[in-house]
Structures are given as C-alpha cells and as structure tokens.
C-alpha cells in the first residue's frame, strides 16, 4: 500500500452533521438495486429484445391477417371450372382474404406435375363415383369446404329443378345461428391469448427478478458484505430496500411490455376489444404489484437460506414450483377451478385478470381477491423478514426453511 499523500483523513466528513441519519436506509438500498439493474447491459438488452419481439410479433400478425390466400385448383373441362368459380364466389363473400382460381390441365399426369411443382394446390376431377379433390397432402380444409359447398349447391339446384321446386324451398329451415348469452361471440380465443400473455409476463418477470433478488442476497452473504451492512443498518431495512428496488424495476418493465402490447393490439382486428383489454391490463398490473411483493420477499429469503450461489437452485425450488403451477393453471383451468384459482394468492395474478377480460367476474370479485393477496403479501413479508434475519448470518452451509424459523437470533 503506497501512501501518496499525508493528508489528514476525513476532514470533510469529520462532523456529525455530515451524517443525514434520516432513518431511511432502505431507500439507499433500493436506489442502489435500481441503479445496478438499469446499468446492467444484459438486463437492458433482454428488455429491448422482448419489446422488439412483442412489436415484431404483432406486426407479423397484422401482415399475416392482411394477406390474401389464393388457392389454385387444376381442372379438366368447363364443369370443373364452373364449380371452382362458384366455390370462389362463395368463399370470397365470407372472407375477402381468400381467393380460389382454376387452371386447365389435359389430364391426371399434368395435374400431378402441377401440384408437385407447387403451382396448384389440388386437382378437381369427375370420376365414375362423382367428383374428387386430390392434393399432394390432405386437402386444405378451407378449400375442401368451399368446393364441397359449391358442389352441394350445384347438385341441389339440379335436383330441385328435377323435382319441380327451387333450392330456396328445399333449404328452408336449415340455417342454425350460434350465439352467446352475453353476446360476446368470437373472442374466446382472444381471451385465452391475453390470459396466456399475462401468465407469460408474470412468469418471466417473477423468475427473472426473483432469481436476481436471490442472487444479490447470496452475493452479499457469500462475500460477507452483509456483515458490514448489518453493522450499519437493520436487516429489515436491507430486505425492504431490495424488495422495493426490484419491485419497482419489475413493475416498470411489465408496464412497458403491456403498453407495447396494447399499442400493438390497436393495430390488429382486435382493436375493438381494447377498452376491456385495457381494464384487464390495469387489474393485472395491480395484482402483479401486490403479488410480486410477496414473491420478491420469498426470493430474498431463498437467497438468505443459501450460503453459496450453487445452493440457490434448491432453495428457490419451492417458488419455482408455485410459479410453474400458476403458469399451467392460467390456461389449464376452467369453470369452478378457475374461479377458485382467481382468489388464491399468486395464482390470482393471472387468473383474475383473465376472468375480468372474459367478462364473467362481478365487480367485487377482483377487489376481494386483491385484498386476499395483499393480506397474503403482508404476512409473507413479516414471516420472510424473520427468516431472512435468522438465516442471513448463518454462513456455514445451506439453512433449511425449518431451521431458519426455529434458530435463535
């Protein structure tokens, strides 16, 4: 150690009034957690990649839904061509993004060559037992349904004429209209997709930030930095700072992702569902905030139970299991099970916003569920703080959850 100058030490920090002991060391800890995360390149890059992924995925689906699919059917003679024209007219009427065109071929060999080359999707030909649609693979359902419909209409017209009546008379009373009591027909898939997105967001954030919290706790424990910190501030303040700091970052990231997602949805055909989706997103963020607090605390405890980074795998295992359950439950549960899950803390983070989105939750249900989770989080923080304090100073080997609860301080 080379002493370069013999300046007296600490002339600037000499007086007690240089100390601003405002009693908020947790804020100092929290701001360090935030700064460390925000200056971490890996974190910034992964956030950027996710934003690009969300934006890119929506751009792709917009492009995909705006694209016209054209089927080419190889036919022989005018009958086949007329059938295809009829099918094309019907299919375009119901979906203007689908078109069917015909192309003339002299026979099977030519048709096969055309299909094999990818220039035609199928070969429509009449045999002894009627019309056949042959393609390289199983015939495409849209094409098959369209051609079938055209064939049926043509046959019906011919048969009706033969029977001295009209198609309208024959078809009378055959129309079935499907509806839902709530009139929200056709967005079940959208609800499922949105719920899945919630689950994915929560799962990713919880796993990523949870692991980071645990890692930062064990980093301090392993390096004994925690001993220096413990002599300076109460461990409760250290825990609070870590939980608050990481929750702020996690929440910020989720809000960013959700905002990008909402903007992306506004460009799609689902933009009409934006108001109800926004409500669900707001609830999701609320649930996320409260739920993440409990998780952050549990992960900090898991970090305190480990004594080396290698132990984290086993001490965080209970949380990983719970998160996996929440993740699977989010799209695996229906009916009463889903209703129950929407009140179970942690699971409710995903399932309650999902229910709100599908419109089957009364106004008081999310409120009650949120209160339940807030109570759970509060209890977790209190208990977690206790375990954290008891296990943080035990530096010899891994501490079990049971030991941590019963050990003397």
């Amino acid at each position: 150690m080379t002493t370069t100058q013999q300046r007296p030490l600490d002339d600037t920090a000499a007086d007690a009034d240089a100390f601003d002991d405002a009693g908020r060391p947790w804020a100092v800890v929290a701001s360090r957690e935030v700064v460390v995360r925000l200056t971490n390149r890996a974190f910034l890059v992964s956030t950027l990649i996710t934003v690009l992924f969300i934006a890119g995925f929506s751009a792709f689906s917009v492009w995909e839904s705006g694209r016209t699919t054209t089927y080419t059917v190889a036919v022989q003679g005018p009958d086949g061509r007329q059938l295809v024209e009829r099918a094309a007219a019907a299919v375009t009427e119901s979906d203007d993004k689908v078109a069917i065109v015909s192309t003339q071929v002299p026979g099977e060999a030519a048709a096969r060559a055309l299909v094999d080359a990818g220039d035609a999707d199928a070969w429509l030909h009449e045999g002894a037992s009627g019309w056949t649609l042959t393609s390289a693979d199983d015939p495409d359902l849209v094409l098959r349904t369209a051609v079938e419909g055209a064939l049926r209409s043509t046959a019906l017209e011919r048969n009706a004429a033969a029977a001295g009546t009209t198609v309208e008379v024959v078809e009378q009373g055959t129309t079935l209209t499907a509806n839902r009591f709530d009139g929200r027909l056709g967005h079940t898939g959208f609800v499922k997709a949105a719920t899945f997105a919630f689950a994915l967001l929560f799962f990713m954030a919880a796993m990523m930030f949870g692991q980071q919290i645990a890692a930062s706790v064990v980093e301090e424990k392993q390096s004994r930095l925690v001993e220096i910190i413990a002599t300076a501030i109460p461990l409760r303040q250290l825990l609070a700072g870590k939980v608050v700091g990481n929750s702020v970052i996690a929440l910020g990231q989720v809000v960013l992702f959700a905002a990008v997602g909402l903007v992306a949805v506004s460009f799609t055909e689902f933009s009409t569902l934006l108001p109800s989706l926004s409500t669900a997103v707001v609830w999701f963020v609320l649930f996320f905030t409260v739920g993440f607090f409990a998780l952050a605390c549990l992960y900090a405890v898991a970090g305190a139970l480990a004594s080396r980074t290698e132990d984290l795998q086993s001490t965080t295992a209970p949380m990983t299991t719970v998160l996996m359950f929440v993740y699977v439950a989010s799209f695996g549960l229906t009916g009463t099970a889903l209703k129950v899950a929407s009140f179970v803390p942690i699971a409710s983070v995903v399932s309650m916003p999902g229910r709100i989105l599908s419109g089957d939750a009364a106004w008081w249900e999310p409120v009650l569920s949120l209160v339940v989770m807030a109570a759970f989080s509060a209890a977790t923080v209190v208990l977690g703080e206790r375990i954290y304090r008891r296990s943080l100073m035990q530096t010899r080997g891994r501490v079990s959850w049971r030991q941590a609860l019963t050990a003397p301080e």
């Binding site: 150690m1 080379t2 002493t3 370069t4 100058q5 300046r7 007296p8 030490l9 600490d10 002339d11 600037t12 920090a13 000499a14 007690a16 240089a18 100390f19 601003d20 002991d21 060391p25 100092v28 800890v29 360090r32 700064v35 460390v36 971490n40 980093e219 392993q222 390096s223 004994r224 930095l225 001993e227 220096i228 910190i229 413990a230 002599t231 300076a232 501030i233 109460p234 100073m393 530096t395 003397p408 301080e409």
Partner: protein, 308 residues
C-alpha cells in the same frame, strides 16, 4: 437493542470498548467462554489466538453480527447500541465486495448505509482512495482490481467516515510488507485521534511491533491480556549460558531446565529460584563462563506458554 429516538452521540474521545463475560455456544460447543477484556481509547489492541480460538466469533458479537449467548458489550460506559456500532469501522474475516460495481460507487454506498450524507461519503472515499493510491481506479469495477487493491478497497470501507472505533479481523493478512507499513500508519492515525482499535492477527511479530496491548485467546477463553511488557513479567525468564567447554553437563543441574544445549552454549530456564547460583559455581569450577544473560522472551514464546 432499542434504536428508536436515539441521536447519534458524539462520544468523548476517551471512549473505550469493554467486553464483559461474552459467551457464545453453537450447539454443545462453547466457541467463546466468558471472555472479558477492554479495548482502551487511543490504543492498538492486538487480538491473538490460534485457528478456532474464538477471535472471529468474539469480534462478530462485538459488532452485533452475532448475538451473545451471555455477556454484554460496553461502549463509553453504557451498553452498546446499534447506532453506536453504525459508526464503528468493521472489517469481517472473509471479505468481499460487489464485483460488478465501480469502486467509488460501492464505497459511497457503504458510507451512506453508515449514515454519511452522499457528498460527505464521496469526499471521504475520494480522500482515502488518494491516500491509498487508488484514485485512478475509482471508476473501475472491483473485479478488475488485483487482490491487493481489493484489500485496500475493503480497508477504506472500514476506515472511511471517521469511525469512532475500529474492529478489524485479520486486516494484515495478504498484504505485502510495504502495505503492512502504510496500513499500520493509517491505524496509528486513528489511535492518535483517540479511537480504540482492536485487530486480530496470526502474525505475532507484527502484533509485537504494533501493539500497546494484547489479548491472547485460546479455546474460547482469554489466557493473557495486557501490554507485551506485562506479559513478559509473568513469563519464565530464560538465560543463555556460553562456556569455554562442552555444556552438556547443565542437564543434570537441579532446579534448572535445559531448553536447548548445543556444544558450548545452552538455553536454560531457572525453575527453582536461586538455582542459578549453583549453576554458575559449577560452571566456573569447570572452566570459563563467556556469557550468562537473561533472554527477553519473544511474543511467540509467551504465546506458546500461555496457550500451552
């Protein structure tokens, strides 16, 4: 430990740390057993003992990192509080830092946790970095520093912000001789300002050179405490005897224990007071006595005696 409503006090410069009957058990093991000693103000107190003697456990209890099973720590005449310890400089045995954070940032962070204002912490850290020749590395990540430089950063973490007392577990381990000297200079600056300093070490020669006071721990108990001179006074004095002829016969002299005999010289302990008279008479009868001198016992010797 009540810390609500207490203000950071400005202790008198004579404040001392007093350990009273500190005891800590881990299961059936009594790691620290009724340890009492004082770390006086303005003095360097060396804390010596073999591996597992209980030094680290004692220091951790002193710093409040570990709760004592029994006993208490007194600071400035009253039981120590968390806020008192907040202004102590502490260097734990196994040291670490945040590897991926710049030197300046993490030292300022640690200073702020100890209650320093942001600008005061920054100023104190900057002064120390200059003193220890690390000013140019302030923005480097700690993991980029050599081990010796990392140790300096850890020293700054303990010394910054004008600590009221210093508790340092093995502060000299891993330092080269030049670094040991400047570390010693730094510690003396603190003691001359009235700060009590307790540090543990395995390096007995170093402790002997630096310390005005010394506490020897063995098997969790204090086996000796006081100034090196005090300890010497209680120690068995050895004498060196150099003769003109072979000294082998001294082994048979009653009341004398021959520690080492080699050719014409011997190292002796006088077991029975007055036995040296008979020894010298016999020596003169056999030939010439070139030297008969009391040997100043080394600390290592005292240590071996008291821990034996």
């Amino acid at each position: 430990m009540s810390d609500n409503g207490e203000r950071l006090t400005t202790p008198r410069p004579t404040a001392a740390i007093e350990l009273r009957h500190l005891t800590r058990t881990f299961g059936d093991i009594r790691a620290v057993d009724d340890v009492s000693f004082t770390v006086p103000a303005g003095r360097l107190t060396g804390f010596v003992g073999g591996n597992g003697a209980g030094k680290t456990t004692t220091m951790r209890m002193l710093m409040g990192v570990l709760s004592p099973t029994a006993g208490e720590v007194i600071w400035d005449g009253r039981p120590i509080t968390r806020l008192d310890r907040r202004r102590f400089g502490y260097m734990p045995e196994e040291r670490g830092l945040y590897p991926k954070q710049p030197v300046l940032d993490q030292l300022v962070y640690l200073g702020r946790l100890r209650g320093l204002g942001a600008s005061a912490a920054r100023a104190s850290v900057t002064t120390h970095l200059e003193r220890l020749g690390l000013a140019e590395r302030a923005k480097d990540h700690v993991e980029k520093l050599s081990l010796g430089n990392q140790q300096r950063v850890q020293i700054i973490a303990a010394l910054m912000g004008r600590p009221r007392a210093l508790v340092l577990d093995e502060p000299f381990s891993g330092l080269d001789p030049a670094a040991v000297d400047s570390m010693a200079d730094l510690l003396r600056e603190h003691t001359s300002a009235g700060v009590p300093v307790l540090f543990s070490s395995h390096q007995l020669d170093l402790v002997e050179r630096l310390c005005e006071r010394l506490v020897v721990l063995a098997g969790g108990r204090v086996v000796a405490a006081g100034s090196p001179e005090d300890l010497r006074a209680h120690s068995v004095t050895r004498h060196r005897l150099v003769l003109s002829g072979d000294a082998g016969w001294v082994r048979g002299v009653p009341g004398i224990h021959a520690v080492d005999v080699e050719g014409r010289s011997a190292l002796l302990e006088v077991v029975d007071h007055g036995a040296e008279r008979g020894l010298l008479e016999e020596a003169l009868r056999r030939g010439e006595v070139h030297e008969f001198s009391p040997q100043r016992p080394s600390l290592a010797q005292i240590y071996r005696e008291v821990t034996a």
